[in-house]
Amino acid sequence: MAKVIDLDDVAVQEAEARSRYRWRVKVCSSTACDASGAGPARRAVEHSVEEQGLEHDVQVVPTGCMGLCSAGPLVRAEPRGGQATMFQQVDPQVGADIVERHVVGREDLSQHQLDENLPFFTRQERVVLSNAGRIDPERIEDYVAEDGYRALVTALRMRPRGLIETIEASGLRGRGGAGYPTAKKWAMLHDAESDQKYVVANGDEGDPGAFMDRAVMEDDPHRVLEGVALAAYATGASKAFLYVRAEYPRAIKRLEQAIRTAKRQRLLGKNILESDFSLDVEIRTGAGAFVCGEETALLASIEGQRGQPRMRPPYPTERGLYGKPTMINNVETLANLPDIIRRGPEWFRGMGTRVSPGTKVFALAGSLQHSGLIEVPMGLTLGEIIEEIGGGCPNGRTFKAAQTGGPSGGCVPASFRDLPVDFESLRQAGSIMGSGGLIAMDDSVSMPEVARFYMDFSQDESCGKCAPCRVGTLEMHRLLERICAGAGTERDLALLEQLTRTVRETSLCGLGQSAPNPVASTLEHFRDEYTALLRNEPVGVAHG
């Protein structure tokens, strides 16, 4: 049997190896920066290091997402014991300059230097993303050097009950959308009696405009695995599935590789770290169906069936995969666990608000100066996120509304600047937290058109099992099309409002129940735009 990893040993060796280099040059190699040309940039940096004969002085590290995707490719040069410098829009020439002029010549490359005192960076608090953009996701040593798998060691010395109590004390709530208390779900699976229990990590990330979970899985895969192991140990599960959407091939590859490595080091598999706890982990791939993010549909999909949801109760913790008790946790929820165990529930409660402790990762996109991936304490205001972190709208546009929660969420108008972004406040404003997609819209956007866009999505993604969702979303989309085309009548609008209620109240699963949200919230906050369209007046300024 494979030898158990000695975490202290690995961490010490890794620290020594790092300290041998005078510089570490980190190149973001995530999907977004790759698309902006990070590959050639990295090769230029490596080539230049070689040419200067600096292989023993400068280490080039490929990392995951550094966050500010809109300014990529990003590079961060870190001198040993000194102040790091970040660079933006690094093409091969700038890559070479970073080595030859910045590292060797100690020159400023002012044009390409990225100020890390931007609110985009300083207003963030990184827990789930603490390693993203800082470590090489393909090396377990990098994760261990950042205290990786320590929480698992600690947990294995605790009773599962004690672990659940710790999570309860932390107040952690599910990051998959609904904000359900994680410890409560754990306790249900823990108390379920069965010869076989399952834990499932939900990495389906269906919101079309969001990529938080992708970043966690690609940039710090071992964090996800450690989270899964902690959840399984606490609940008595011996088998775990990672359900990842097929659109994320790199996440799948990274997780597969991480599972193999972790098994070899006895961090997964049989008798983890020589304890009695064993956990088998398997990846299952989605196939492009939004509804599969819903937990009962997801389970059907893992079983090789059409991903159609079913009525709850029974809840999956009573009857889930193959009829056995099963618990589904979102990837970001799981990624919070190692830090909570290691640093304690009080530390976690020190961030965020009383009822929504901790941080939340957002995929910030749309009409913004700075877009990309951010992690902020819960309860930051909408204005702080859009205007300070995102830098407001570019090209002199005016911020009009923020969309959160994707097709299940709504649009919060600019007048809600001071709204704290947490589970309850967003719901009161007619939207939901959702999984973390946050899209800024400016005055060029027509809100009924946004509602139409989401309804088109929902009618397309409706699985067809129940009539209110299947027929209702189709009808709502038809009405919205007519209204947006300027051919709608008062009656159409009244019917739309009526359907909003019917579909919400009578659909089988969360997809149908929440599909009317974008319509309801735009009707609530931007009714004048609907009535303008009824009078055949234009809405939203054309794209500039």
Binding site: A32, S36, D207, P208, G209, F211, E247, A287, G288, Y454
Partner: protein, 182 residues
């Protein structure tokens, strides 16, 4: 190694056409231990290997997994990522997720469709290009995003995209001509 029941199943039912690609599918079937609940994974493999899911492939999978063909087609047609028609030589997927949509991705689809004469969701008559749309490919910070033959292209305009595709075609034509000449 002694032949197991599943080994012999693979041998005796191997695809009669002798198409090499079925051997790849067989390997995946074996790795999945012919378990019926691995159907979605196997459909992925089949599509990767063949480019799309033909009736022949679906029936083959049904037989190997001892599932009714209706179940296999039912599952495959439920998921958006599975396709039942052969795509073109090049696949251009324009993201129509929210972030891309609010940055004008719809115009990119329409413009590209018009410029290259391929309606969205279809393949050009010469079989050279398939124009697909997707819902978020996870690079929203670079909206509008296009995936061309597996490569992510950020901040695309219609002009940029059309030029890129024409360049790829031109390079291909030149290479083909050279081959003919040489």
């Amino acid at each position: 190694m002694a032949a197991t029941a599943t080994d012999s199943r693979a041998q005796q039912d191997a695809h009669p056409s002798g198409d090499e690609r079925f051997a790849l599918l067989d390997k995946a079937l074996k790795r999945a231990r012919f378990e019926q609940d691995q159907l979605v994974e196997l459909l992925h493999t089949a599509q990767e290997v063949f480019g799309y899911l033909s009736n022949d492939v679906l029936i083959y999978l049904a037989r190997q997994l001892r599932l009714p063909p209706s179940r296999v087609l039912g599952v495959a047609s439920f998921y958006h990522l599975f396709t039942f028609e052969a795509p073109g030589d090049h696949i251009c997927t324009v993201c129509l997720g929210t972030a891309c949509y609010v940055k004008g991705a719809e115009e990119v689809v329409e413009g590209t469709a018009q410029a290259l004469g391929v309606p969205a969701g279809q393949t050009s008559d010469d079989g050279r290009l398939t124009l697909w749309t997707a819902r978020c490919v996870g690079s929203c910070g670079l909206a509008p995003v296009v995936v061309f033959d597996g490569t992510v292209l950020g901040k695309q305009t219609t002009d940029e995209l059309v030029t890129h595709i024409r360049e790829v075609f031109a390079a291909e034509d030149a290479a083909a001509e050279e081959e003919e000449a040489g």
